[in-house]
């Protein structure tokens, strides 16, 4: 059974220094609040896994929480670069960042393998590509039946996965709707799984075949309204495209970035205080 906890408690208890952490959500339902809380609690030496690092990992990398990044596409969607990621890779700031890069198909398969309890995933990929030359974790194997050359990659088995979802019921069963990305696979591949949700309801009213994660497969459920902003939560709020553009200016410069993190994340008690502070600043503009 998942425990209903505050996000502060959940991160304190279930995310440790040195953990392999996956904050998943493909453009949709990105667990921003959890990334903030990891910074507030000053976790270090994390291995971060995520198909699209997005703003959440730009934050964690720039704030000095990460020692390694496992990813498959590291840009700011519709805007351009992730400047903190680039600065870490190109200039080792604020510290060197080991990177292990894959393709989307590869990482998606690796999560499926992780959720399936398998040591590796097999897929038709990478023939002729330079990606395996810079990622020794990508190997090639011969199909034992046809002889075809296929790619093999280790499964993703995070110590802890964090995802955001629309709602949970009082027992901690979670409903996810809309673009699912690899959230279900990431949740089931992990040793521990924290889910932040928009709200707790009496009855999920989940349609048959809906994506429901049962409470007994999860570790903690935390109510964090708006917890996926500036990404979106289908049925609750839309993507804040302007913030993704603003992020380009905030993150472009080390000092601006650090000042922003100090003021808005380390300088706020929790995500709702952060949202209030950000809203006040946006209004003043």
């Amino acid at each position: 059974m998942a425990e209903l906890l505050s996000l502060n408690q959940a991160v304190e208890r279930f995310v440790s220094n040195g953990d392999t952490v996956a904050l998943e959500g493909f453009t949709h339902l990105i667990p921003t609040a959890a990334a903030h809380e990891i910074i507030r609690q000053d976790r270090k030496d994390l291995t971060l896994v995520r198909m699209t690092p997005d703003l959440v990992y730009d934050l964690l990398i720039g704030a000095g929480c990460a020692k390694k990044l496992v990813f498959s596409w590291g840009g700011n969607p519709g805007v351009g670069s992730l400047h903190r990621l680039r600065d870490a890779v190109e200039k080792q700031w604020p510290q060197p960042l080991e990177i292990e890069e894959h393709s989307h198909a590869d990482l998606a398969n690796a999560y499926v393998a992780g959720a399936s309890g398998l040591p590796f995933a097999v897929l038709r990929a990478y023939l002729g590509s330079d990606v395996p030359k810079v990622n020794p974790m990508i190997k090639f194997i011969d199909c034992p039946f046809t002889g075809e050359t296929l790619a093999a990659v280790p499964s993703v088995r995070p110590d802890v996965t964090v995802i955001h979802a629309q709602k949970a019921d009082r027992k901690g069963n979670v409903l996810i709707a809309g673009i699912l990305g690899v959230q279900k696979e990431a949740a089931l591949a992990a040793k521990r799984c924290i889910v932040t949700v928009e709200e707790i309801v009496d009855d999920l009213q989940a349609p048959m075949n809906a994506c429901v994660l049962p409470t007994w497969a999860l570790t903690a459920v935390c109510v964090v309204p708006g917890g996926a902003r500036p990404s979106y939560a289908h049925g609750y709020y839309e993507r804040d495209n302007r913030f993704y553009q603003q992020w380009d200016l905030i993150a472009r410069n080390r000092n601006t970035f650090t000042a922003w993190v100090d003021e808005f994340i380390r300088g706020t008690e929790d995500f709702s205080a952060f949202q209030a502070k950000l809203a006040a600043q946006q209004e003043a503009k």
Partner: protein
Amino acid sequence: MNYSTNEMMTVAASRRLGNSSVCFVGIGLPSKAANLARLTHAPDVVLIYESGPIGAKPSVLPLSIGDGELAETADTVVPTGEIFRYWLQGGRIDVGFLGAAQVDKYGNINTTVIGDYYQPKVRLPGAGGAPEIAGSAKQVLIILKQSHRTFVDKLAFITSVGFGDGGDHRKRLGLPGDGPVAIITDLCIMGPEQGTNEFVVTSLHPGVTREQVIENTGWEIRFAVNVATTEAPRAEELEALRALEARTAAAHGQTGGDE
């Protein structure tokens, strides 16, 4: 009607999509061209985005690969793993539609790094879905603006494979799809030459000279024996494109990305 070179590029690319095609769409220029096709000559084209929507029919261009409208207008939304496993690797994609940071004469694509991988001059976003789209789609279309910096003699990094070292290299590698069939730019259309699979200019956009193309290509670009002139954008194509861009700007406060 007057038109820009970017509009010519998008229209030329959109014309390559047939009405019965199942198309795996990259974000940015490919998404713009694919949706223009759907709004003009190919209303039944099936657009698949890697985030999970199958049969998406957005009224505005998505800014991200997983915008909510893609899901709302889709025939079905499946997990990302399923998109790559069943629908792409399963052999159900007719056309993979890709952008690129850089391309070489054999249609190989770099979206990873400029300069040395371990001491990068510019770190680019990386592979995303492109390597397996380039590998497994039955055909691939590449769209990008042409310049010395984007059309290079030798890629610093081959992220996604076109024809490898040329000739039958792609086949020898064992990639299932046929590879890139066209590169559409703001100046011209290129196609793979039979036998060598080197990309040569097959059609110049109206008013573009051979010298312009030569100047904006990092290798010694060659021209097909018969070089056509691309048909200028028709009024209905331009109207549909501009209306789509206007709706996108109104919805997002920005144009939908040209990178």
